[in-house]
Structure formats: C-alpha cells, structure tokens
Point group: C2
C-alpha cells in the first residue's frame, strides 16, 4: 500500500483567490495513480491550500476553545466553516479521481481522529482498513479536530500520515510538493538531496535551522522532515514535485526523480 | 439531549428535480432549534431526499459488491457519488444552521458506522460524544456504508437514530415528517394518533399491513414504526410535521401537536 500526500501548494495557490484549485495538476496526479491502480492500493491525504487556512486563521482555531461563551461560539462556528471549506476542496479531488475511473472515497478526518495539541492520539482505522480491503482509495485531508488539550485544533495532513504510517505500515509514503524534493539549504539555492539516509536527517534539521519547535502551522519543510524521520521507521519515504507530470509515477515505481529516504537506514 | 431526524420529504421533493432543497423549511427548523440551544443539546440526522436516492438506485448500492470486477468498480464509483451527493445536502443544512448562530458540525456517517445488511453493527461514538461535550450540534445523515455482509450498503437516517438512541439514551427523539404524525390508516384517511402507547405499536403495525420485512428502502411508515418501537425502550419519541412552523418547538417543549410515544409504556 502506498500513501500519497498532496501538499496544499501543489493543488492551490495559498496567496491567490480563496478556494482556487489547480484542476489540471490534480487531473494529472489522478491519471498517474490510475496507471497503477488496482495493482497497488493507495491512500490519499491532501492539505488545505487556499481552502482551510483562511478560515482556520480568521477564527483562530489553533487557539482552542476559551471559557468565554461568545468567543467560544465564534470559534465553534469557525471550526465548522473550516471543515466545510475542506470538504469543498475534497469534493474537487473526488471528482477528478472518479473521472479517471478511480473509486476514491472521502473519509472525513474530523469524524475519525482526536488530537492532543495537534498530534493524533486516537483514531479508529477500522473503516479505512475495510475500504482498502474492498479496493477503494480512501481520501483524507487536513482538517479541524477535537483536541484533548485545547478543545479544538487543526490536524495537518502530515500528522495524519505519520499516524497512518505507524498503524498501517505502508510500503511507501510519497509527499507531493511544489519543488523537486528536499534541498540542502533553501529550495533553489542549496542542492537537491536525492538520497537522504535516515541517520542524516537530524544533522540536516540543524543545518536548516529547524532547531526550535515548529512554528510553521502549515507544516513547512522542518515539520515535513521531522515527520519523515518518524515515518521512515516504518516505510520508504519520497519527496517529489507534484506539479511535474511523471514524477509521482517515478516514485511509485521506485526509480523517480526527487528525494528518497530508505526505510530504516 | 434531543435527537431530531429531518426526513427527506421534509427538506426535499423526491419526485422533483435532482438535488432540490427547501431552504425556507430548513431555515425555519434551524430557527426553532436556536430557541432552545444551548439550554438543550441536539443531534441532527437528516435523510437523503432528492440527493442520495437517485445515485443509490442508479448504481444499485443496496445490492452490494459483486465478484465481477467491472460491475464492482461501477458500484464503487456509485458508492462515492452517493456520499458526495449526501455531503451536498448536508452542506445546505450546515449553512442554514450557521446562519442562525448554531454550531452545527458535519459528521460523515460513512466514516463512523459499519453495517450488516443495512443495520449498524459498529460505530465509534467517541467523537460525537466529545462534540456534544464541547456544545457542538453534530449533524449526521443517511449515507452509504461499509457492510459486513454485502461489502457496501445504505445506512438510513432512521437506523442511525436507533443506534444513537440505544447508545446515548437521549431524553427525546423527534421525527420530522411531511404529515402531522402517525395515522391509524393512510395519512389523511385514518385519524391522527396523538398518544401511542408503546404496547399498541405491534397491533398498529398489523393494522397497517406492515407484517412482512420492510421492502420500502427509503424507510416508510412501517420501518419508522418498527424503529420507534425499539427507540421507545430508551427515550420518548415524537412524530411531528416538519413543514409547519412551531410543531418542532412543541415537541421539544413536550406540549406539541403530533404523535407521542411515551418511554417504556
């Protein structure tokens, strides 16, 4: 089984109009997956892009539910608005996958997972596992979450993947990004790292100044690397450019262009 | 806690255009609930109306997943199309409730429940219970389901309610219909039954010729009465007209016009 994460910046321009969606790119991603399905099983997880972040920020979802009733109810409304925006992004994915004959099925992240300070602490995977057995392609997404510490929070797509990788032990996890992979420095400046031994991630995190706890709420490169380090305990990890046709297929086959972290090395 | 079922015929004309939605009626329902929230906790469950049934029928979802790959994949696509149609109906509800200041939160039924021949055999209510604790109004809906016997099936709103009533023991379950309640005969012909002792339901089922196993997939009056009989073990049950403003409020207060089944009598 292969888990594919479609980053928000791959299908959407966060700085563009609200809820803009790059249909062409997503269609091309669906086409690549269609070449391997049903020989391979897939789980898709997508980010928020220009859909969820706007609401999450506007309503201060990450600050949790306060005591004051009016502020709390404002946030509750924001919590539901954020989820509805994510469902609209998700509907675009489902449509694109169906068009390519793929039985992609929407699983509402917030109906399944509970977090504690944004990290999954509980998630019943019974339905996702049965969907896979029945040869569906479950599609999850970054979403709001019930949070044990704060009442409510945001659950990022990357966090979902770390949890799924731990529980389901996929053969491979592929992160689609809007750059070619992980760079030794700023993207475009440092060189692209094509083979990243798991043991080198810690040193890379230091070189990239990812030392303090991640403040990048959307899951920037520091968070991605930290999660990748955890995932590499269970599964091979790839970072490839989701905007360039063929790169996803290369990672699925195993001979693609991008950054590869071998399992357990 | 009060569970309100909004029947498909209340918010939608099943014989009308695909995906027609009676915004005015739903707005009026949201307004009545807003008079009691947050004093009362609510769970809302809505039916399919002109949204889900069309796809469920077209793709033969209730027939399950066959061996043949092509037929099975046609049904898988139908399964996901049906869910997406129900999410569109659900989005209309969420919007109407938010407009009245109610923090209604969409819970995807198919992400939570597993059925066996259309009856719930598994459903993790952790998230629904926590949503209630945090003063959200969870909104569920009739949906497709992973089914232990058939692979896939339909889970009706009424079945969800039977399960929720058993597990959560609400104070009251209110079914909104497009008629005034349960009649002793055909609606409009027999007289409206205002007080229905639980012990009389069996005899009424016989008088209404509901003897054989229900063939009405959409949950007609026979199915409703059978479910009501089970629910009345745990909770007071009301059947009221959801199209007439004030009737829902009457049932919530307990002095309304419609059919009332007292708990355990």
């Amino acid at each position: 089984m292969i888990i594919v994460k479609i980053g928000g910046s791959v299908f959407s321009d966060k700085k563009g109009e609200p809820e803009n969606f790059d249909h062409e790119t997503v269609r091309s991603i669906a086409r690549e997956i269609a070449k391997f399905y049903p020989r391979e099983d897939f789980i898709i997880v997508h980010g928020g892009g220009s859909f969820g972040h706007h609401y999450a920020k506007k309503y201060g979802i990450r600050e949790g539910l306060p005591e004051d009733w009016d502020t709390a109810n404002f946030r509750r409304i924001g919590f539901t608005e954020t989820h509805q925006a994510m469902l609209r992004a998700n509907a675009n994915f489902i449509k694109a996958f169906i068009r390519e004959g793929l039985p992609a099925f929407s699983v509402s992240t917030s109906s399944v997972f509970i977090t504690e300070n944004g990290e999954v602490v509980y998630g019943d995977l019974e339905i996702i596992e049965r969907l896979l057995e029945l040869r569906f392609i479950p599609v999850l997404f970054g979403d709001v979450s019930i949070d044990l510490a704060k009442g409510i929070d945001i659950l990022s797509g990357d966090q979902i993947i770390t949890y799924l990788a731990k529980m389901l032990e996929p053969e491979k996890v592929i992160f689609l990004m809007d750059v070619d992979g992980i760079y030794d420095g700023k993207p475009g400046e440092g060189g692209l790292i094509q083979n990243l031994p798991k043991g080198d991630i810690e040193a890379l995190l230091e070189r990239l100044h990812c030392t303090s706890a991640g403040t990048d709420v959307t899951g920037g490169i520091c968070n991605k690397l930290r999660e990748a380090k955890k995932i590499a305990e269970h599964s091979e990890v790839w970072f490839v450019n989701g905007k360039v046709p063929g790169r996803l297929g290369g990672a699925i086959r195993g001979d693609g262009f991008g950054t590869r972290i071998n399992i357990g090395i």
